[in-house]
Symmetry: C2
């Protein structure tokens, strides 16, 4: 049996697979963690810090197994290329359910919390299994990553409680370690412009408008804004190629928990309406905005659907 | 907020709604149990035995609430007529997942066990809430009903453990009470032929064949077989009306855990192949067969898909 998180894996996707495979092993089940993509720099920092090896990379799964376990996702387009050819025996997730269907009953555990690791931490307790130091470290890191150190509006009380408990078990200082980890993932100085605008970009249909929103985390937003001319040229190219009405590029400051947004395209003024700001040179400060899912997609959808 | 089980409710569907509303109330949440259909005689016996009122009947829900909780089902065609107009906040279930999609993250708890009540019993423990006598009685009854007194192949170890524990809390003798309850639902003497063949009938496409399978529980299969001529005439009518290739009518003996099957239609010999039996006057004894889901649908599908 294989367990894996979504394609384009983030820290929660990679570590949840490792952690759930560990829990299963303690319960006497033989499950191997694998990954559908490369660890990003933040995830690599986490694995190095706790001395855990990255799972094996796979593209397809039906050539190896009949049954799989999904963590941190359920939608088939985010999963293994041949996911329809295997049986999903379990899902542990914190997202909406969509594009998902099974022929048989399964174990499905979803909770509306900030991170899959928060649910996994509960499962250890439900099964009466101790959480070893390095697994605590991986779960803590996933929570820090998904909640931007407990600052994102997706963060629940359960995530905060789990993070404090896991930091103690992992033997690290929550705030210090968390910031160090986020910084490791927010070093944008080595990224090309093409990487910056595509690393975490998602496309949305909002009313009759076609919108793309990309987000990057930064310790210093000037690392990105200093390359603004080059950046805008690249965004304009994507807009022309894909026929977008709006490309909203968001640089999130992980120290102050604000974002700077750059809006291009003929629907750019939707951003002004959505946040009550004025774009100066296509750019505006978005105070307190850190979550695309909760603070960007819904407000822009609202403005553009009117 | 409303909580309800599937249409054509069985004992698990009705009692799980009542029980989960009780647990929610102990957790300080205001959730009302409702039902999408009338309690069958077995369920009515259970409610009377433990002195619990049937939930209120509703056909639609969007006129009352914005959010709902589903128990013992998830597929939209089994749910309230206007289920697509409300948000599903939670699901507690033990079936496959299909025809189900949400816009937002939710609490989804499915486990591959024999009965929803087995999962609810766990939830009481996870929340540290005591199970009162009458709620224990309702959960026990749901397990007895879904597993045919722990005899069905859908029954897991977890169901058995939960049933024993709940019988003690409810202050009833598991086997005696269970049989009494099943008998209350298996009194077929008052049923019309039309009721017998439609009460629990489901249609399936198997390969290129259109098959309907109806199942009734009986204490004495002769209560049904004594009306065989009338029964077969009614089945032939349905076959002609719906253009069926096979109508398989199954009377399950709840005392001996065997079934008698009556097979009509041009694909009737599929039953002979499936079970290695010979139909005599369209009828055969199926030793040890009690579960349509596990022991009838898959084997017939297998034969008819070749």
């Amino acid at each position: 049996m294989l367990v894996f998180g979504h394609k384009n894996p983030d820290t929660d996707a990679i570590t949840s697979a490792i952690v759930y495979a560990h829990l299963k092993a303690q319960l006497g089940e033989d499950v191997e963690a694998v990954r559908l993509g490369n660890p990003n720099p933040e995830t690599q920092f986490v694995l190095d810090h706790f001395g855990v090896a990255a799972p094996r990379f796979v593209e397809t799964v039906a050539n190896e197994v009949k049954q799989v376990i999904l963590v941190d996702h359920n939608e088939r387009q985010q999963s293994a290329a041949d996911i329809e050819q295997v049986e999903v025996a379990e899902v542990i997730d914190h997202h909406r359910i969509a594009n998902f269907e099974t022929a048989n009953p399964l174990y499905y555990r979803a909770e509306p919390v900030g991170c899959t690791a928060t649910i996994l931490n509960k499962l250890y307790k439900e099964h009466g299994v101790d959480v070893p130091k390095e697994m605590a470290g991986l779960m803590l890191s996933a929570i820090v990553s998904d909640t931007l150190l407990l600052k994102s509006p997706t963060c629940t009380e359960q995530d905060v409680t789990a993070a404090r408990e896991l930091a103690a078990k992992a033997g690290v200082h929550l705030e210090e370690y968390g910031l160090q980890m986020l910084k490791a993932g927010a070093d944008l100085s080595q990224k090309t412009i093409a990487e910056l605008i595509s690393l975490d970009a998602k496309e949305f249909q909002m009313g009759s408008y076609k919108v793309e929103i990309a987000q990057v985390n930064a310790v210093d937003v000037n690392d990105v804004l200093s390359r603004k001319a080059e950046l805008e040229a690249a965004l304009e190219n994507v807009i022309a190629e894909k026929g977008l009405d709006l490309f909203f590029f968001v640089v999130t400051d992980i120290l102050n928990n604000d974002s700077v947004g750059i809006a291009l395209g003929k629907a750019a003024n939707a951003v002004e309406q959505a946040y009550g700001v004025t774009l100066v040179d296509h750019q505006a400060l978005l105070k307190g905005v850190v979550s695309r899912k909760k603070q960007i997609v819904p407000v822009l959808t609202d403005v553009l659907s009117k």
